[in-house]
Amino acid sequence: MPNATLSMESPTQAAPPSGRDWFSAPPRHEEPADLPGWYRDLRAESWHQFLETPGPVRTDESWRFASLKQVQFDTLRMAEAVADPEPVIDNTLDRGLRLVAARFVFVNNRLALGESFALPNGVICLPIGEALVQHGDLVREHFMQEGARLGGAKFAALHGAATLSGLFIHVPKGVVIEDPIEVSHWAGGDGAVIFPHLLVVAERGASVSVVERHRSINTTDATLSIGMADLAPEDGGRIQYVCVQNLNDQSRQIQLNGTRVGRDAKALSCFVNLGGRWVRNESVSRLTGPGADSEMLSANLADGDQEYDQRTLQLHEAQHTKSDLLYKNALYDRSRTIFAGLIRVCPGAHFTDAYQKCRNLLGSDEAEANSMPGLEIDADQVKCSHGSTSGQISEEEIFYLKARGIPPRRARQMISQGFLAETIERLEGVELREAIGHRFEERFAVLA
């Protein structure tokens, strides 16, 4: 295993950087003057925590196999306002979904476009800053409740201290939003940081789908996105969240997701990683009421020197809950992926169904896929399975495609794309599935 080289790294490493090396003051920019007091307090506390919390170290299990150099930042700075966001908006519209219930575009952490199309009455869909002012109490109920349990606590604290971009979406009882809400986050400026936030609440019988897109303004600037998404499908509610990351190959992203699924509620969350230099995804699903169901998906295409580091937790706290995780990586060149997933069935969470699968398709001898599946069961009558597989494209499949006249390179692309499609097919929304399929096609087309 190529992993063996990792353990040879010296255990005595430089002290992890303190927060002050990254930011000398909380990363903020212009924002509403009348932010609620609780939020100001929370931010102050977050900043304090950020300074106190040590950065990632090798000895921490949650950073095992991780490339720590990717989080040893030099001085960071808040992204600056872009003089003319119009070209970026145009690009967003060109490549975005046609059928959306609402569309928001944030450029360097600032709202550049917000439009809604017949959102049902009672739905709140606002930039987080405005929501804090107008619906402070509602936001407070769910805001950053889930914390960061999988290693990203320092980044979560920094996120909590910063001026946030992104949306608060609240769907009241029984309201179903048919078309997805699309949020795009663009970043530019070398060393610039953005803080995308998403908080979605679906009340009883309510349903909403949110697509978050992460893009770079240009191909050269190395940016950092520290984002959080909290999903709260309450009893009988339903939320789909798809995060499509297609940053330039200099940029990094840390995305921390917390999902709390209530009684008979359903969550579906999906990471799609196509671009970026280094990406860390942490995703926690808490199943808190009987009948809760969480589907956790990811489809990733890595090439060059890209690294995707994904950590997950399926936390079954109540009886009769279900979680199903499927993460798939297609790797090329010298790319690396890390998957570390834990199914935890808490005491008393009987009749749990929990599944976890990570599958890797290795398109090169130098690519490296690390998988660390895990199970902890403290209940009875539980159906659990976990596993990971790594393999190469079957020569017999290639033969079949070539025997129909499809050139070898195209045959490999089609099979790899088909491999990833298995996760995408589980998403709701024809246009969304097709759009992601096209993005993969574009990426595969330029793969050597």
Partner: protein
């Protein structure tokens, strides 16, 4: 110009063991030739080696298609040059829809920069699926995934109809088919018969040849053609068994 698929003194080995031991066969355009033979006689090896499978090593002989050296071509080039193999065991390709698969195969036949006409493509595909009594849902399903044996074979014939080859090799396309499926598959093949197309039908059973009536029947045994004749040979074979020709 030579208008045939010509195999001359072909020798083929797998892992150093000779499977085909000097086989000669000429399939002119416009004709249907059947190869029959017991298990292990080398029938499927012949099919795969003609398609270009890399596990099989040609140690001697020539194969030409309309005068062109077939063995010099890559697998995908052979297909685009007009050769088609209907697989005995078609592979499943997860996540690749039947429609996209066929489209890619057709696209590969167009000059660089030219795009397939999607509307015309679907229209044609649906018409041919109707002919094979295939449900439209098969266009959106992953290639062969979860298909029954009969559905896989129909899918092979659909691919043949869409790719319109000059020479088609059907490797035990009848195996695993019930009588209705067999009739449908055979109708599809018969509809494709033309003076510009040659067929090599490989089968274990005479039954298929009631539906696809061959111009010639060859008996293969131990890597060679040991007997050739008209369609009646198949009936005689059915009646007397392979031991009869082996003994001869």
């Amino acid at each position: 110009m030579n208008r045939s698929l010509s195999i001359h003194d072909l020798h083929v080995s797998v892992n150093g063991i000779e499977i085909i031991k000097g086989l000669t066969l000429d399939i002119p355009k416009g004709e249907v030739h059947a190869i029959m033979g017991p298990n292990g006689s080398g029938k499927s090896t012949l099919a795969k080696v003609l398609a270009g499978h890399e596990d099989y090593e040609v140690t001697g002989g020539q194969v030409t298609m309309d005068g062109e050296d077939l063995l010099a071509l890559e697998i995908d080039e052979r297909s685009r040059a007009g050769l088609f193999l209907a697989f005995q065991y078609p592979h499943e390709i997860p996540g690749v829809t039947n429609a996209n698969f066929l489209r890619a195969a057709r696209q590969a036949r167009l000059p660089k920069g030219e795009e397939i006409d999607a509307v015309a493509f679907y229209k044609e595909m649906y018409a041919k699926m109707d002919q094979l009594e295939m449900d439209r849902k098969f266009t959106g399903r992953a290639v062969n995934e979860g298909f029954s044996g009969g559905e896989k074979k129909r899918n092979e014939v659909l691919q043949m109809m869409m790719l319109e080859p000059s020479y088609a090799i059907l490797d035990e396309t009848d195996s695993g088919l019930d009588i209705d499926a067999l009739r449908i598959v055979a109708n599809g093949v018969n509809a494709m018969r033309s003076p510009d197309r040659g067929f090599l039908v490989i089968t274990h059973y005479q039954r298929l040849l009631d539906y696809i009536v061959p111009d010639k029947v060859h008996v293969m045994f131990d890597g060679r053609i040991i007997r050739s004749g008209k369609k009646e040979l198949a009936l005689e074979l059915e009646e007397k068994g392979y031991d009869w020709v082996k003994a001869a």
